[in-house]
Structure formats: structure tokens, C-alpha cells
Symmetry: C2
Subunit: 533 residues, 2 copies
Amino acid sequence: MDQTTSQTPATEQTEMHPSRWGDPERVTPLPDAARGLIEMVFGLQDRPALAEVTVPASGLDSALVAELAGLLGSDHVLLDDATRRLRTRGKSTPDLLRQRSGDLDDAPDAVVRPGNHEEVAAVLTWAVQHHVAVVPFGGGTSVTGGLVARRDGFAGLISLDLIRMKRLLEVDHTSMTATLEPGLRGPEAEALLAAEGLTLGHYPQSFEYATIGGFAATRSSGQSSAGYGRFDALVVGLRVATPRGEVSLGSSPANAAGPDLRQLFLGSEGAFGVITAVTVRVRRLPAQKIYEGWHWASFVEGAAAMRTLAQAGMLPTVIRLSDESETAINLARPSEIGAESSGGCMMITGYEGEPEAVAAKRAAVTSVLAGLGGKPLGEEPGQAWAHGRFDAPYLRDSLLDVGVLAETLETAAFWSNIDDLYAGVKGALEASLGDGAIVLCHISHVYETGCSLYFTVAQKAAEDALGQWLPAKAAASDAITKVGATITHHHAVGTDHKPWLTAEIGELGASILRAVKADLDPTGILNPGVLIP
Amino acid sequence: MDQTTSQTPATEQTEMHPSRWGDPERVTPLPDAARGLIEMVFGLQDRPALAEVTVPASGLDSALVAELAGLLGSDHVLLDDATRRLRTRGKSTPDLLRQRSGDLDDAPDAVVRPGNHEEVAAVLTWAVQHHVAVVPFGGGTSVTGGLVARRDGFAGLISLDLIRMKRLLEVDHTSMTATLEPGLRGPEAEALLAAEGLTLGHYPQSFEYATIGGFAATRSSGQSSAGYGRFDALVVGLRVATPRGEVSLGSSPANAAGPDLRQLFLGSEGAFGVITAVTVRVRRLPAQKIYEGWHWASFVEGAAAMRTLAQAGMLPTVIRLSDESETAINLARPSEIGAESSGGCMMITGYEGEPEAVAAKRAAVTSVLAGLGGKPLGEEPGQAWAHGRFDAPYLRDSLLDVGVLAETLETAAFWSNIDDLYAGVKGALEASLGDGAIVLCHISHVYETGCSLYFTVAQKAAEDALGQWLPAKAAASDAITKVGATITHHHAVGTDHKPWLTAEIGELGASILRAVKADLDPTGILNPGVLIP
């Protein structure tokens, strides 16, 4: 069989800005047109992040640090302020607000960088022995407080940084699978696979920074998941280091050998173990990618068209639909704000693959959408979407700089529940954030039986922006739970969604998670306080 | 939303023969042609099942029986020999051999028939209180010892028969989901759905007798699963009664709200709880069904063609491929036996759906298969396959009657592992069963990354046929484990596969199952000895 094994050494990677999204070099002020628009809607405030912040001193005993250095080498045990600041929290708006205000209370005592499974296992053994809390760290892109662990009762808290584990361990061209280490960021994984003529096809908005391990640990879903599948559907095998030893799963594509334990580690958010290798289904690199826009008279009509495609087994690779408000904002120029929008809704469809297959799928989808009242807008809107598809988090930082509170949240439900979910969440956010709040929504992922709703919120930031947002998030979460939808479609539970998890999975569901946690991590060192109710 | 709620009362159903497969009315001797063939290969022995057998007396205390009658009504607590005999074991060849020899040691002390979730829960509470073992019973079609629980240390063992729970609880035409009770047999579920214009599309060989609850509890896969999906992929929601209370899951098609606990109950084989409702994705009833045959020069070439289709995203609704031996046997006439077979391999492809979609898919698949060297054989072989698709278990009984040991087993692996798996299992079976053994194989299910292998074995029965088969089964299981494949693709673990489960999921995987079991069923009353290592 034509299996190959290749390895790529770790490379120095661009670190994210400590209190903003993404590459510090790409930090830019708002473009003038947007700035004018923002000023008209919210007014402008100057709300810069504190430039100088104090990182709490490392509380880790020097003898323990020496032990860690003995395990990993002293180069891979870092206590300096800059590194610890970079491994503090994730990138939710609350995380950013805390960072911007100089609150670094959650900084780890040390950042450790194991180079392979065995070193991860050694760190866990050490952590159990000394009762040190361990926060696995991949891309640091959590937006649900997934990196904010409890430290009370522990001898310290370390960030277990997977930055050195970036190898493509194996490619199986016959089975079309690849085994990847967890620290590979999206573009790094794609580059290694592209050299083999392959792709994973997983493109969440966090793609540029999020990692393979994080995709698995959080059940990530990407913008092309209609075509390639959610990340949890791509995974066929996992290797996990736990405090009690190794778990290695993946005998076959699917089987009946009891419960599927892979699905227990997918979404386990570092609370059950540290994922040290992921075997994923891969596809051939697409020869062609076409993205285009469609116009719908209403969100309801566009959503119905998506449902028709999904239930006919005809989904394109990408399909998204903005509601009337999001469509208006995305297309808006300052002169148009305040005018009654009768603009309808924008849908993006995308096709990736061999030209012949793309042409056939595109023709079939076009026929259905046109028949249902969609108006084709050509490739320009699709290209514009594709060009900016990873940029929204940068915009959020620029908004925070000028005193606009901006955040997103997402959920999913069955089709028959979507109208109630949309109205409930939108209403809850508007009521909590008050007059002038902007609540936008798009359908980001589509299934035969339902879809996800992704909300974006903006409001003039109050003096206490955190105190302004948290009740709105709680109100939205209550509204989601009330209609029986999921608290999160693709952003995981972390600490932020934990208060609502039991409502979704029940008291016994929560009990099962605690039982598995107690079995694999009996002293509770792994990401304490995250996920498990 | 156009949801409807409908209910269908339980109907009297045909019970299976106690020591054979299926409808007692359909028991027939071997047809003359087959009889001649068998005589030539194995000789004929007269090995009838014992007509008169003794069912052990019920050991359940009469006060306990009275309590059960109080919970369910005395009509639904059955202690008679005939009913208890019908709920003894499943339908593996070892199960049948034991039944045929008059061994009914595993007979339950009572058969209880709760009518709804609350009554199931009440029985479990009662069983915990009195420490009585409970074996959930759906269709009784287990072929892995899934109904053979331990009873040592318990005050008794009852069969919890779901025969009265046959309602279609809800149909959601918008979301294309249906909620079914666990006791519905395949044809009953399809009839209820057909009245709504819908289908589940789940057709395992056990279809006529197996139940919805059993499909879920064992991760069943059907002959049309390439098109409709494995049963575990059809499930979007579950309701489960456990000794500690109810678990209800299914907020959304997919989500990131922690591990997917649905996937923990799928495949749990009654060891974690009793599934009392299953919400499944449904499809519109297909307007057209076409099955046809293809000829391949070799198993390897046919398998490669299947892989090509799967990895191109072009699988038909049904696709199966017999190896050279199975093809020869299926087509054989007595005069041909012993002649060198140069017959190649038979593939069956099937297409179900709207005529336009069927035509398009069929044309595309035909083009690929013809391009890879397949020779179309038209619809006759496909119709023959479809006609007899549920009949093989009847043939097994007729073979046992004439002294031929016959059994099946199945596994799955990634494509790059299939050659080793095929050779390893075939070799192990042939070595164990000795000269004259016939080992046939087909690929029954296909995925992008791998496929399943389904073996059929026949040999002249020894005096101790059970003692002849068990070492062969063990040798095959060892061979499966040795190459890292799965011990079962779609027949579950039961008691027969349990010795090999830990090799597949590891010591910690087994520990997780025990931890979940201990959490949900702390006194261990549910199917003791089944599944959990």
C-alpha cells in the first residue's frame, strides 16, 4: 500500500497579539468609510488597551520548575512575562476586555512545551505528582473561556503549549487519511497536506491561528463543512495522553465495538486528556474553487432554499445566508444608514473540486435555487466573502478601540425550531443591550435536519463593557436553552457556556462527564473548571 | 411547522421460532438442488433439533412477581415456558446449537412487557431494589451473545421485552425527523413512516425481526447504508431510562456542547440503560429502486472500484462485492463444483430515489465502473439479490438440520489494511476448521477511508459442533485484532466479542466504559456481563 511517512520540523510561528486577535503586524485602525459609519451609529470613543500591563509573578516553586526543565529541557519551560501573557486566556470579547484593562490574573505560572506524546505524558505525571493544574494550549483562539482554568487548591497552573508538535506523522494515500500532531495551525496543516496533493478542507474563521488539536477538542466546524464535513466527522483516529495513561482509538472508519469513544474525546476540551495525534480523512486538493452570491427576498425564503438543498442531498461545499440586517450592514455605505432597508438577504455558495464535478453540482444547485426564487449575483460577492473570510476578528479589535462593544455567539437547532430560536435570541440580545444595539445573524452551517445560527452583536460600549456584555450573553443563552437548541454549535463549552450545559444534556449527562473525568483524571489537574458541570 | 403526532397501537406480532431464525411458517427443508450440492461437498447428516425441551423453572420469588404485576399489570408479566423459551438468547449459531440441543439454562425467570418509558423506569427501580438482572429484549436477533447475561449474585434475571412499545411518537416533516419507540421491528417502522411518505432506509439482514431500539443499541448497519447512512448516523436524538433516571439527548443535528453523549448510548447494548425512544433522520420514500449486477475479474479489482467511488463521493445506495469463492457458490450448480472457478466476482449496485436523481447517479457510477474494467450484468442479478436479501438465516437453519455448521462474522478496517485483514481472517478460519471448510467473503459496507468484510463459513458439523466453531471464531477474532481492525463492524460486542474489545479500545477505553456503567447502573443490574470488559 502506498503509505508514506513524512515529518516537518517545527518552525517559528507568528504569535498572536496578547490583547487582540491575530498578527500584530495586521493591526490597523478602522478604514475611513467604516469609521464614518460607526461614528454615525454609535459615536466614537477613544478606548485604547493599556499599553503597560503587569503579569503576576510566577507562583511555581523553583524546585518544580527545575523538575520540568529536567523533563523537557530548560528551553521548553518558560516563565518570562511576555510568554506567559501570550498564553493567558483566549480571544472572546470578555477575554480581550480583561486583557485590555490590564487584568492578567489568569496568567499561567509557566508555559511548558513538550515535543512529543511521551513528553506530554511526562508532564501530566509530574502535574499529578505535584497537584499542578494543566491547561492544554493550541492556537489560543477559544471564545468560550476554554483556557481560563481554576487554580484554587493547586500548587500552580501551567500552560501546556503544543507549539512544538507540528509534524505530519503519516499519510495513507490508499485510505485517504493523514495523522497530524495537535500543534499544527490550519495553514501549516494545509501546507503539509498540499505537498501530498491533499487537503483537510477545514476553514473556520479562526483558521489562521487555531490548531488541529483544538479543532478536535472543541468539535470545530468550518466554513466549508457543508462539503468537507465538520471536524468531528473528519476524525477517524485519536491518540490521547491522560493522567492515567494513553488512549489510542481508530480501528476502522466506523464500527459496532461498543460506544464510539472517539466521540467522547472530540469535544472534551482538554478535560479528559491531551490529544497528541489526530488521524483525519483527507481529500484531493480541489482543482477549482468557485464562490458566488445569491439574493433572496427574505431570510425565511433563503433558509427554506438551504433546507431544500440539504434534504435533497445537494449541498455545495460552502453555503451561508445573512439575514436582512447583516446583509444591509455588509453592503452598507454611510449614506444609506437610517434608510429603510429593503435589501433582502445575501447567500454565499461555494463549489470546490474537479472542474467537471464542480460544474455538475453548480448547475444542479443553480437550478434549484433559481426555481425557488433566488437571484444569482455572480462571483463578485463570493470573491469578496472569500477574500475577507478570516478578517472579522481584526475588525472587532478596531471596534473595541473606538468604544464599540462587538461580539458573536452561535447555536443550532432542528429546522422546525429555527424560527423560534432566531426570534428568541435576537429578542433577548436586543432587550439586554438596549436601544441602538445591532443584532445580525447568518446561517453558517446546514444539515438535513437543521442548521446553525451565528449572531453578531454591536452596541456603544458602556464604561463597564464587560458588565454590559455578560448579562446579554446570559440572556441569549437562556433564550437558546428555553427553545431546546444547543448552547454551542462549534465554539465548545469552556467556562462561559458551562452554566447552561446541564440544561442541554441533563443532570445524568453531566454526571457521565464527571464520571469519565474522575476515571481519566482522578486528581482533576486537567483544565479544572472547564467543560465539566 | 408541519409536525404531526401519530400513534399506532401495538399489534400481535409473529414470534420467531425458538431454536431457528424467523417465522416458523417459513421453515422449509433445503431445496433439492442445494441439497444435492451440500451432499456432494459435506455429505448429509440428520441433525434435527430436539423437539421436546425443558425450560428451567422460574426462580423468581412469587412476592417479586406480584410486585411486577402491580407495576405493569399481570398480563404483562409472563412466566410460562413458551414465552421464556422465546426470550432465551439470540440467533448466533452457538445460540442455535445450544437451543437445538435442549440447553435452555439461560432462560429468563420472567418476561416483562412495559408499555412506555415510565413503566420501563419503574421496572428498573424495582430491579435495583431487589437486585434482579435485567436483559433488554428487542427483536432477539443478536448474533454476538448480547442476550446472554450473567445471573450469579442476582435474585433473578428478567427479560425486559419492548414488544409493546411500537408507537411512532412524532413526525417532523420540516426537520425530516421521526421519533420511534424501541420495540418497532424494521417492517413496522417502515410501514408507519410510509404512511407519512417517509422511509428510514435501514435494511440489515435481520430487518424483518430486529427493532429500532436494537438498531441503536448495537450500531446496526444496513444493506442500503451507503446511501442512507449507518443507523448511528441516522440518530439525532435518544431517550434512555437508566437505574439513576432519564437521559434525553438531541438539541440539534450536531453541536460542540462537549462530547457527543448520543454516541455513548449508541452501541451501549442495554448496559447503560434502556433506550425508550429514538429520533431519526428520515427521507422521502424513493419513487424508484434499481438493483443491478457487475462482474469483476477479481476481488481486488472490484474492491479498488468501490474505493474509487467512495473517495469520489459517488456511492450508490447499495454496493456489495462478493469474493471469488462467494460468487462461485452463489452461482453454483452441483455439476460445477470441483471445477476450477474462473468466474471472477459479483458486485451488486443499487439506486433508490427520484427517477431523475437515480438516472444521474446511475449514469455516473456506470461510467466509473465500466472505465475501471467492470462488466455490467444488468438488473437480473440485482433483482435476485434483492429478492433473497433477508433469507440467508433460514438457509443456515436448513444447513444445521443436515449437519453442516454455518456461521458468519464481520469486521472493518481502513483500505490500506484490507488485504491483510482478508488474508488473516480467511487463513485463520480455514486453519481452524480444517480441510473442506468453505470460507466466503463479501464487502458489505463502504466508506471513504475503508470498508467492512463479511465472512460466511461452512464445514461439515462435528459431533460437538459448538466445540468445533468456538475455536474458529476465536482464531478469526485474534486475526482481526492482530491487524488492528475492528472486532465488529455492525453486530456489536455482546458476550462473544468481549474478550477482544480491550485489544481494540485499550485498557483505558475499557476503564471508561466501566466508569460510565458504574455511574448509570451502580448496582450492575443491566445486562450484566454484556459489553463491558
